[in-house]
Symmetry: C2
Subunit: 292 residues, 2 copies
């Protein structure tokens, strides 16, 4: 996948050891941990959605690529912190030790903090070759998608859900925050970078919301139906952990119907773009039908 390679190269270039103007030095031990958490892995789904959304409006090159790399920094920071012993306590990620296992907890906390901080530098920098108005807008939207009213707030609710099971509305809100907000941002940000009209921007954001919800439902479904060999983790893990999911609440058939409805909705939202929307349609199908 060409996008994933381009994002990897951009991340590698951004995470070199040369201090940028305003930085004192980049400590090599910290940089190593950051690279461990950000390079060489992952499906790069969010960057893909961002790059394809931008391409829909004719935007290619440095600007969308830097914003996509910044978004991936945010995603990777969240994985590093979520894996910590005080959170989900995971030892392995993408077939490698998690950052706090390969280094130590303090380093993992600081690597996550650094990636989160760096994301905003990468977007706001004039190297991002966008008018300042677009850059501040992207910073604001990303901060809201990632912060207390978005991803971080969603992770908080997810941890709380282990103690007190939320109802259907609660699960929907939790998921819209924890995984939905960043996927929605990916699609909306592509439209912002591509200087899309307000109507098209809203259309892409809605597409992102549909994909985000589908992503979560597909994940729940996998947990219910896969055997451990296909999934690469213990199947039925959510139920065993007492974690309420929509799929668990309504069953496999209901979830499949929902996914099919979301695919229809995604197709409807992309219809005005005709042939140009093919890659995003394919991405939607990939998210909905994935089996691992």
């Amino acid at each position: 996948m060409a996008h994933a390679d381009a994002v990897e190269s951009m991340l590698r270039a951004l995470l070199d050891d040369r201090p940028r103007d305003g930085e004192v030095a980049r400590p090599s031990g910290l940089l190593q941990a950051i690279r461990h958490g950000a390079l060489g892995g992952g499906k790069r789904l969010r960057p893909f959605l961002l790059l394809e959304s931008a391409a829909l409006f004719g935007a290619t090159g440095t600007a969308p690529l830097r914003v996509a790399a910044a978004l991936e920094c945010i995603h990777c920071y969240s994985l590093i912190h979520d894996d910590l012993p005080a959170m989900d306590d995971d030892d392995m990620r993408r077939g490698r030790p998690t950052v706090h296992r390969a280094f130590d907890e303090a380093t993992a906390i600081l690597a996550g903090d650094s990636l989160l901080t760096y994301a905003f530098d990468v977007i706001a920098s004039e190297e991002t070759e966008l008018p300042a108005e677009r850059r501040v807008e992207l910073v604001t939207r990303l901060a809201r998608a990632a912060g207390l009213g978005g991803m971080a707030g969603g992770q908080f609710l997810d941890l709380a859900a282990e103690r007190e099971t939320p109802g259907e509305d609660g699960i929907l809100r939790l998921q819209a925050m924890k995984t939905g907000a960043l996927i929605r941002f990916a699609c909306e940000a592509g439209a912002i970078v591509g200087q899309a009209s307000p109507a098209d921007r809203e259309r892409l954001a809605e597409f992102g919301s549909a994909i985000g919800l589908a992503f979560q439902l597909a994940d729940d479904l996998l947990d219910l139906t896969s055997d451990a060999a296909t999934l690469g983790k213990a199947a039925g893990k959510d139920a065993a952990a007492g974690k309420a999911t929509l799929a668990g609440l309504h069953g496999i058939e209901w979830t499949r119907r929902q996914l099919s409805g979301l695919m229809d909705q995604a197709n409807d939202l992309l219809r005005p773009f005709g042939e140009a929307g093919t890659m995003l349609r394919t991405a939607a199908r990939f998210v909905i039908e994935r089996d691992h």
Copy 2:
């Protein structure tokens, strides 16, 4: 101190429970932890320096106040994360339990992440009543002062220094990153908000660097000379922890001479502003002569 009250009010308003456009919801439990870490305490030194630096160039009102509040969000996030068991492992802060003691570790990590993220929203938002060019510049400078080449990198070096004692250059670099970068930013940001000339902006940044270094030296000196009652923590704690400081390396007299030299340097840098620089001169003296 009027500034501290204004910053407290601004932080309180920013940390209300109303989700902003682009946020789904603000979970009350997380918000409570964030408020615990950000409200009702601290000297608010960095906001003070920012507000007085801005005032030097005639900038008052919403713009400098929002940037000052954002800076304080970054400072408070760093305290929350630094206090964690995996880092400095502190139970008390400002006479109250630290966030991970009052809540739990996962909540403290997420509260810090949220404050860090929110800082960039607060600056980038159009409510900050600055041209977009100034807002992106502030985002970039703050990210570089706080991230892997600034404060977070400095905290990493500080933890590493407990295992391998750095030399004098190493200590200077560590301190310029860990405490210096954000204090330098405070003064430079005031000049940016105040649309100062490049020369004046550099002058303020240099003033900030001098204050930052003085802040650290005064801290080291306090550790060497105070009794526990004045300091509110165990005196000689640095030496006991095997932590190398410039004051420890060169002694009390050398440190006093350095502080006096930094006060002269600060005064020289402020001379062109005449009477208008009085408050910043007083702040410099406060930093250098503080005994707690």
